[in-house]
Symmetry: C2
Amino acid sequence: MERKQKKFKRSLKKAELSVRYSINNRNMTMIEETSTENIDRRIQLAVEAFQFLKNTTINERAEFMNAVADQIEALGEELLTTAHAETSLPLARLTGEKARTVGQWRMYAKAVATGIYTEPRIDLPQPEKQKADLRKYNVGIGPVVIFGASNFPFAFSTAGGDTASAIGAGCPVIIKAHPAHPKTSQIMADAITTVVTAFGWPEGIFSHITGTSYVIGAYLTQHTDIRAVAFTGSFNGGKALFDIANRRENPIPVFAEMGSINPVFALQRLLETKAETLAKEYITSLTLGVGQFCTNPGVFIALKGKSLDRFINVLKDEIQNVAPANMLHKGIFENFEKQKNVATEQSDVELIAEVNTETEGWQGSASIIKTNAQNFINNPVLSEEVFGPFGIVVECETPEEITKIAQHLKGQLTITVAATDEDARDNSKLINILKDKCGRLLFNGMPTGVEVVYAMQHGGPFPSTTDSRFTSVGPDAVKRFVRPISFQNWPDEFLPEELKNDNPLQIDRIVDGKMNSGSLKLQTT
Amino acid sequence: MERKQKKFKRSLKKAELSVRYSINNRNMTMIEETSTENIDRRIQLAVEAFQFLKNTTINERAEFMNAVADQIEALGEELLTTAHAETSLPLARLTGEKARTVGQWRMYAKAVATGIYTEPRIDLPQPEKQKADLRKYNVGIGPVVIFGASNFPFAFSTAGGDTASAIGAGCPVIIKAHPAHPKTSQIMADAITTVVTAFGWPEGIFSHITGTSYVIGAYLTQHTDIRAVAFTGSFNGGKALFDIANRRENPIPVFAEMGSINPVFALQRLLETKAETLAKEYITSLTLGVGQFCTNPGVFIALKGKSLDRFINVLKDEIQNVAPANMLHKGIFENFEKQKNVATEQSDVELIAEVNTETEGWQGSASIIKTNAQNFINNPVLSEEVFGPFGIVVECETPEEITKIAQHLKGQLTITVAATDEDARDNSKLINILKDKCGRLLFNGMPTGVEVVYAMQHGGPFPSTTDSRFTSVGPDAVKRFVRPISFQNWPDEFLPEELKNDNPLQIDRIVDGKMNSGSLKLQTT
């Protein structure tokens, strides 16, 4: 194991000179490449902090999380103006995202405190049947590495939902800051560290690793003391971490949310009656935030005909109302332009709508192409996510072609069925297939706007995420970072509060197979 | 993907002539190598059956599972005599294991019917806040491949807990029968198929694949339509499947339970007062069922001294009372003898107890060696599981050495702390470390005997299993085979029963963040 780490250290040195993220050149912020010595030290601190954190109760962690929420809430204008300068995101959007981030910490804290993710189960002893006293609950899995995302500098980054859910689970967090918003990340990291200090908790609870080299991410992921990884970003980035983690001597889970083309299936009756409204809704969702959402509806599938022509005609007009705006950073802008052009240059593809306004700087300019079902199925380029305001309309000759597309689809974060009730009744087979292809299935409406609620599933079959069994949005995100441990025949004194006889935390527990929120009356032996 | 499958088919043909399991030669049963054409056909049937099964309700699946339990219970003497002939396991043990297997189906059925693994969450719409109606529940992950285990021909094999939990989750099952008990497997498969037919369910719900070549397992695991794999067996077998699954174009989870050395840490006061009792308990557990349990306590760790000498002296005597008995099959016997001899021949190792009786056939003969802490830590051979009645006593010079061993340990299914309350109080740091190293932590007693209850955790950190977050024993085993799906704004008519407004299944659901078992009163819109 040690030899492996030395090898990584050598490759890290090389890589510092070569591979680099495309950074927003506007911010002349120098990003410090955290040294491997410092990374090792922070991970060692995290290992030590875990011995403390795993023995905190759900209430203690909830209190900590609420304090982080307060701390972030109290951050002044500096946070917003810094993030605005680093990401080009409008202040209004950032204000909303800050509130969402604060809300996430509070909501997850409340959920953690209910004990729902602790899942306590107690099977009382039955000496006459030689049955033992068995008590199980979920503990944190260990130190977790989290990669900040570029497109949500607050909600999916340093102090985002991944960090909140890992700490809620009882896991120390090592953040790999996204290099596109280094100052924002530092402000958030300081806020969390302030709370760690105020609580007198071990400093290893939270670490902030900075750097522009991919190798830092690889180094963190292969480190023998790391127990899980969370990532939001590109397929290539997420898949690389997934592979590293699985090839370790002791493999660990990687929760990578890698994006999606979020198809909209428009069924015939709905399209006939609402082509115009649907077009307006579609273009609004497609171009929201310069299309920089992982739930951006990149593909629109419908039957060829007059209704679809009406839909397309409205797209042509409506797209002119989309004001071009700067994308998150130069790298994202360049990638968007490149991928958009590659898709548009494929054979049997027609450009049907584009913004006529001239663009400047890193303004992503919306456009929509059209193709036929056969071409969409046969040409894998057209199923690749284009991160930005770009859509594909797929014209199908027959309902069977629509079904074929459904069967052909890879895993998606979301799929939308635009339908009347009658459409849905007539297309139950299609809808049944679509259920296997996504984490969230919408009936009308558009997929952008991922609500932070219990019932949210933000995670779909591969390749939209590496693990469709978990969500990265909503309090259920905590589940990613726990594992169960059973205690057999332990005296009450040594059990965690969550499993003690008198149920001091007053949580729901499954006792002998039945839900029970009381204390246990045991016969003294 | 198709090319890959062709390549696999070619390698399968070659392998049929070469790689083979070591089969119990006594049974001259010819094992049919299921052809890849038949495997492909069965997987296609499973894919079709999944479209049906995923839309069954928890009650329908529970009814099916209870019918399987009845069917197995009704199986006559033939099942027991066949299994006895194929495995050498005593009839009394097999009678108990049959009852356990029937009990598992009934218990898991009951658990599934409560909706606990469906985890329904509903967030009602708030139109004034533009919040959607979101409803989430767990569905089956898709067709699952399950590998039968040799050491539990009923409870961990064709109709074992893995099959029960996968069907409970709503997943069609493709069994790869263990070639050590082919006739037993066929009887169990027929029992399940009888119920599938009686229910009029699609035949693809359950498939029985036979063969002796490892390549069949690889072929099943790499098949693009398989969604998860469960395995109980050797590290090499489980790890190979894990690697294949992660290298697929669409990676899938593998739940492999790969065994463990299940250390017993005997603390000083307990050892002083109970050396003799402890020795008797230890030897009984170590040699139970000819040591062929994955929870066999293969290592005993304690401080050097008079108490440990007393413990060892009793071992020397007690081991003579262990009657040698046939192991499961020739391959297991040969492997046991080989591994036992390799361990015993290591340097700084002393043979301290062995059975004097002559053995014959495939009788595994118990023995115990002794070594020092430094040698145990430095020599990885001594940390390898020896499947059979073989133990290692590790003599430590100081309590610090005991802690070092704890830190050095890889993941285990179980760890036992043999201690008085005072010992436990004095060794809280040691116990805190041990929590990270196992799935089940015992306070005295011995780890063999894995109770089928909610609070059981049969699954520990790598390499004892590939995924410490799940258990393969107890109803929680169902969790391995589900994934969540969210429905946004769907009319009640199209929702699964589990999520409908009037809660027809009367299950507990989290509604707007609170537990709710009633029906929902919604304002009509």
